[in-house]
Symmetry: C2
Subunit: 336 residues, 2 copies
DNA sequence: GATTAATATGTTACCGATAACTCTAAAGTA
DNA sequence: TACTTTAGAGTTATCGGTAACATATTAATC
C-alpha cells in the first residue's frame, strides 16, 4: 500500500507537506502542491481512513440497524437515511437484526469497536434497553426509529400507531363490521402495544366488546418467525368478518393463510393493515392501509442524529417526532 | 475512551499483557488474566478496531455494493451475503448505487479508503470497468454479482439470462402469441444484453421476425429512471399481445402503465418477466416469471470472495458460476 | 541595511493497538 | 551446585496519518 511517506520521498518533501496537500490546510506553494499531486496520481495514492480516524477521533461512519432488510418499509427508510447521510458527508453501515436481541447485541458491539460516530436504530424491542445504555455509556449518539424503548430517554421518530389503529378499526366499523380480529407483533415492541391499544380504544368507542380470542400476538417478521396463524384461525368460531394486521408482513402471511383455506379478500373476509406492502403494491392497489412515511423516518432520524453529533454540547432535551398516519382506502374491505 | 493503557495502569501490568489477555495469545498466569479481565469489565473497555486494523493490515470489513436497495431481488441477495459473511466473522457494509456510475465510484473510493478486505459488486454497467481496474490495482479481491463487465476477468455469479429469456418467449409462443414485445434494461448491462439475445434467438427459432419497434430499452430501475413506456406503447400498432419484462421493476411499471390505459393482464395483454416481484408476490401469485435464486447469488458470491481473501496466493483462475433459470408458470399469460 | 512579518516547509509526538524481541525468576537437568 | 529451560511478563518499534511547534526562506517596513 502506498502511504504519504512514499509520496513524500518521491516528491522530495516531508510527509507533513503531503498531508497538507491532501487536506488543503496550511500554506503550500503552487509548485510543491503540483509536484505532490503528480506523484500521488502516479502512485495511485488513496488515504488510509483508519489512520486518519485514529488521530482525528472521528470516523464519519454511522450505523443504521434495522430489523428486517427485506421489508420495504425498512428499505425505504434506509434510503431516506442514506440520502441524508451522504448529503452531509457521512458513510452509512447497515445492520440487520431479524428482531433478535442477540444479533442486535452483535451490531452494538460492532458500533463500539468501529468507533462509529452515531447510530440510527430500529430496536428489536424492549429488550434493547441494555444496548442503549451501552451506547450512552460510551457516548455514542443515537436516535431510535419506529419503536420506543421504555426507560430510555432518547430521541426518536415514531409513527402515530394508536391513531392509525383507531382509523383502521373505524373504517371497518363504518363498513358494518362488528367482529374484528387483530394480528399483531410482539407486545415487547412499543408500536405493537400502541396498535393494540388503539384497536381496543376504537372498539370501546363503538360499543364493541374486546375479545381476547380475536387477538393473535405473533411477530412482525421475518416470515419464518410467524407461526400459529392457522391454529388461531381455526380456533375462532365464528370467523371474524374483518382483520386488522399490525404490519405488512403480517398482512401478507394472513392473506396467504386465508387463501389456503379458500377464503378470499374481500369477498369472504375483509383485511386492512399498517404499511404499504411494497412499491409493487402500486401495481394493483388493493389493500386498505395506514401508510407511513417510511422515507421520512430515515431522513428525519438521520438529521436529528447528525445534529446531535455536530453540536454535542447542545443541552436540548429529548426530541420526539411523531409522524402522522394516513389512511388509504382501497378495495380490501367489503361493505356488509 | 478507555484504552489498553488505562486498563494496564489500573491493573498494574503493561499494555502488552492486556493485549494478550484480549487476544488470548502468549502466556498469562490465571491470576493476572483474572485481574485484567476484572478491570476491563469495570471500565467497560471495548477494543478500538481501527488501531487494530492499522497494525494487522486487515479490517475484516467487506463491502456489498448493489444497484437498488428497494428491489427485493437485491435485498434477498444481501441477506444471503450477510449470512455467509457473519458465519465467517466478517462484517458487511452495504452501498446503494442506483445504477449510477458516479455513485458507484464514490463507493469504490470508500472501499479503498476504508481498506476493506474485499468487495461484492453488482456493477452499474459496462462503465464500471475502470472501477474494477482500480480495485485490482489496489489488490482488493472482488466478485461480481448478476452482471459481467467485458474486459474484466473476474470471478462472477450470474443467472442464465439467455436461457431465461428463451423460456419466457417459448411460454408465450406456446400460448399462441406471435407479436411479443420486450421491455428491457440498458444495453450497457450484460444481463440486459443476454436477455435481448435470448429473446431474439427464441423468436428466430419460432420463425417470428424481430421487430425493433417492439423492443424498448430503458432502465432496470429505480423507478424514477423509467421513462418512455407510455410513448412506446402508443407507438406500437397494433399493440403486441404479449410482453416480456427484463426484470421485476420493469414489469411493475409496465403493468401500471397498461392499467392506466385500461388494459388488463392477462385479459387484454399477457405479461411475463424476470425475477419475483417481492415475497409479497406470493400473497397472490399472479405473474409468470423466471425466478432467480437471489439468496444464492449473495451466498455463493460471498463464499467465493472469502475463499479468495483467505488464500490470496491461490493461482486458481477466474471462477464463473451460472445459476439456472427456473420458469414458474402462473396466471399472467392468456391462451390465444 | 537591519528588523520584523509573512510564507513555506520540516520535526516531533501521538492516536490505540500488536509483533518481535528482551528480561527475570523459578523450575528442571546433569 | 552450576547451567539450561521455560513461564510470565515488559520494552520498543511500527501501522499511516495529523496537530502543534520549530525553522528556514523570502518579502515588507523603517
Amino acid at each position: 500500500m502506498v502511504t504519504i511517506y512514499d509520496i513524500a520521498e518521491k516528491a522530495g518533501v516531508s510527509a507533513m507537506t503531503v498531508s497538507r496537500v491532501i487536506n488543503n490546510t496550511g500554506r503550500i506553494s503552487d509548485k510543491t502542491r503540483a509536484k505532490v499531486k503528480r506523484v500521488m496520481d502516479e502512485l495511485g495514492y488513496v488515504p488510509n481512513q483508519m489512520a486518519r480516524s485514529l488521530v482525528l477521533q472521528e470516523t464519519r461512519l454511522l450505523f443504521l440497524i434495522i430489523t428486517d432488510i427485506t421489508n420495504p418499509f425498512y428499505t425505504t427508510l434506509a434510503r431516506g437515511a442514506e440520502d441524508a447521510a451522504r448529503k452531509r458527508g457521512y458513510r452509512l453501515l447497515f445492520g440487520n437484526t431479524d428482531e433478535d436481541p442477540e444479533k442486535e447485541n452483535d451490531y452494538i458491539d460492532a458500533v463500539l469497536k468501529t468507533r462509529a460516530d452515531g447510530v440510527l436504530l430500529a430496536p428489536a424491542g424492549d429488550a434493547s434497553l441494555p444496548h442503549l445504555e451501552m451506547l450512552r455509556r460510551h457516548n455514542v449518539p443515537f436516535v431510535l426509529l419506529d419503536r420506543e424503548v421504555p426507560g430510555a430517554e432518547s430521541d426518536v421518530v415514531l409513527g402515530d400507531s394508536k391513531e392509525g389503529a383507531r382509523q383502521l378499526v373505524k373504517q371497518l366499523v363504518g363498513a358494518g363490521h362488528r367482529r374484528i380480529a387483530l394480528i399483531n407483533g410482539s407486545r415487547t415492541i412499543s408500536s405493537a402495544r400502541e396498535r393494540l391499544e388503539g384497536y381496543r380504544e376504537a372498539l370501546k368507542l363503538n360499543d364493541l366488546a374486546y375479545d381476547e380470542a380475536l387477538v393473535l400476538e405473533t411477530s412482525f417478521g421475518p416470515r419464518s418467525d410467524l407461526t400459529g396463524i392457522e391454529a388461531w384461525l381455526d380456533g375462532m368460531r365464528p370467523l371474524p368478518t374483518a382483520f386488522v394486521a399490525g404490519n405488512n408482513v403480517l398482512a401478507v402471511e394472513l392473506m396467504r393463510t386465508l387463501r389456503s383455506k379458500g377464503l378470499r379478500v374481500p369477498e369472504d373476509v375483509s383485511l386492512v393493515c399498517f404499511d404499504e406492502l411494497a412499491s409493487y403494491a402500486e401495481m394493483d392497489p388493493f389493500l386498505t392501509v395506514i401508510s407511513q412515511q417510511a422515507y421520512q423516518f430515515g431522513h428525519l432520524g438521520m438529521q436529528m442524529l447528525l445534529d446531535r453529533i455536530q453540536s454535542p454540547g447542545d443541552p436540548a432535551g429529548r426530541r420526539r417526532i411523531v409522524l402522522p398516519a394516513e389512511l388509504i382506502v382501497r378495495r380490501s374491505v367489503r361493505q356488509l
